[in-house]
C-alpha cells in the first residue's frame, strides 16, 4: 500500500460523512434540509430545533448548520408582547441587507424603506405575534429602482421560556419578475 493510499484511507475514516462517490447522498442535519424552497427549509429547521416544545429557542440556533441560509436570515427582538413597533433587529444577514439597500447593522425597522425586501418580509410580524405560530407569505413589490420583485418570507417565533415570544427568526428571498 502506497503512502498516498494510506493517507486517503485515513482521511476517509476521519470524515465518515463524506460521500465516497458522487451518487452517495449527504445525510440531512435536520429533516427537510434538502428542501429547495428557503422558507420551507428554515421552517423545517425551526421544527427540528423546537422538538416537542411549542417554540424553538434562540440560544439553540446553530448558524453553521444553516450556513447557506444565514445570509438571508434576520432576527427581530421583541421586547414587549403585542407591540411589533418596538421590535429591533438583532441580526440582518448580508444578502438580505444588500437587497434591502441597508447595512447589516440596521436596528430599527422604521428606518427601512417600505418597498424593500426586509420591510416586506417583516410586514406580517403582528400576525405572528398574535397567532404564535410560524407564518410564511409571499408577494410582490416595486423596488426603488422601479423593478417588480417577487418575494417569499417566513417568520418563526422564538422563546426561551416557552411562554413569551422574545424574538422572531425570519428569512426571505426574492427574484425579479420577468414579463
Amino acid at each position: 500500500m502506497t503512502l498516498r493510499n494510506s493517507f486517503q484511507a485515513l482521511r476517509r475514516r476521519l470524515a465518515p460523512t463524506e460521500p465516497e462517490t458522487a451518487t452517495d447522498p449527504v445525510p440531512e442535519a435536520y429533516p427537510g434540509q434538502h428542501e429547495q424552497r428557503l422558507s420551507l427549509r428554515l421552517l423545517s429547521y425551526w421544527q427540528h430545533l423546537r422538538g416537542d416544545a411549542t417554540f424553538a429557542s434562540r440560544a439553540r440556533i446553530e448558524t453553521e448548520v444553516i450556513a447557506e441560509m444565514w445570509p438571508w436570515c434576520f432576527i427581530l427582538e421583541v421586547p414587549a408582547i403585542g407591540n411589533p413597533a418596538a421590535a429591533r433587529y438583532a441580526y440582518v444577514g448580508p444578502a438580505i441587507a444588500e437587497r434591502s439597500l441597508v447595512t447589516t447593522d440596521i436596528r430599527d425597522p422604521a428606518a427601512l424603506r417600505e418597498n424593500t425586501l426586509l420591510a416586506q418580509a417583516t410586514s406580517f410580524l403582528a400576525q405572528v405575534l398574535m397567532r404564535r405560530v410560524p407564518v410564511t407569505m409571499g408577494g410582490s413589490f416595486r423596488n426603488p429602482a422601479g423593478r417588480e420583485i417577487l418575494y417569499r418570507s417566513v417568520l418563526l417565533p422564538l422563546s426561551d421560556d416557552q411562554r413569551t415570544i422574545s424574538a422572531v427568526l425570519g428569512a426571505a428571498n426574492c427574484k425579479e419578475k420577468t414579463s
Binding site: 424552497r37 422558507s39 420551507l40 400576525q127 405560530v133 410564511t136
Partner: protein, 146 residues
C-alpha cells in the same frame, strides 16, 4: 347602489392532531406549501395526523373548510384492509376447494355404493334362480320316483 364584493383573503392553516385536539402548526398563503409541509411532518413522524384548513375571508365572512387530511395510520389501515380482503379470498377459495373435494368423494362413494348394490341384487336374483331350478329338479325327481 352597486353591490361590490370585497377581495378574497385566503390563508391555509396546517394543523396537527395532538392530545385529542387539532392545533395550528403554521400558516401559509400558498396551498402547495401548506400541503408539502403537512406531508413532510407525516413522513418524518413529527405528527401522527395533519390537516390543512383553507380559510377564506369573503365579504366580511370567514369560511373554513378542510382541504387535506391524512394520518400515519391511514396507510397502515389500508394495508390491513387489503390483507383482510386477501385472507377472505384465500378462505373462500379454500372452502370451494374443500367443497369440491367433498362432492367428488360423495359422488365416488355413491357410484361405489350403486355398483355394490347392483352386484348384490344380481347375486340375489341369481341365487333365487339357482335355488328355484334346484327345487324344481328335486321336486320333479321326488314326483317321478314317488
Amino acid at each position: 347602489m352597486q353591490n361590490q364584493t370585497s377581495p378574497s383573503l385566503t390563508s391555509y392553516e396546517l394543523q396537527t392532531y395532538q392530545g385529542g385536539n387539532w392545533k395550528i402548526d403554521s400558516i401559509y398563503d400558498d396551498k402547495d406549501l401548506a400541503l408539502d409541509m403537512g406531508k413532510q411532518l407525516l413522513s418524518t413522524r413529527r405528527a401522527t395526523a395533519v390537516r390543512v384548513v383553507e380559510e377564506d375571508f369573503v365579504d366580511g365572512k370567514l369560511k373554513s373548510r378542510v382541504i387535506f387530511r391524512k394520518s400515519v395510520v391511514d396507510g397502515e389501515n389500508a394495508q390491513a384492509r387489503e390483507r383482510k380482503m386477501q385472507t377472505m379470498r384465500e378462505v373462500q377459495e379454500a372452502r370451494k376447494e374443500t367443497q369440491s373435494r367433498v362432492q367428488d368423494r360423495a359422488r365416488l362413494a355413491q357410484r361405489k355404493a350403486d355398483s355394490q348394490s347392483f352386484t348384490w341384487l344380481f347375486l340375489k336374483f341369481f341365487g333365487i334362480g339357482v335355488f328355484g331350478v334346484l327345487a324344481f329338479l328335486v321336486l320333479t325327481r321326488i314326483i317321478a320316483h314317488g
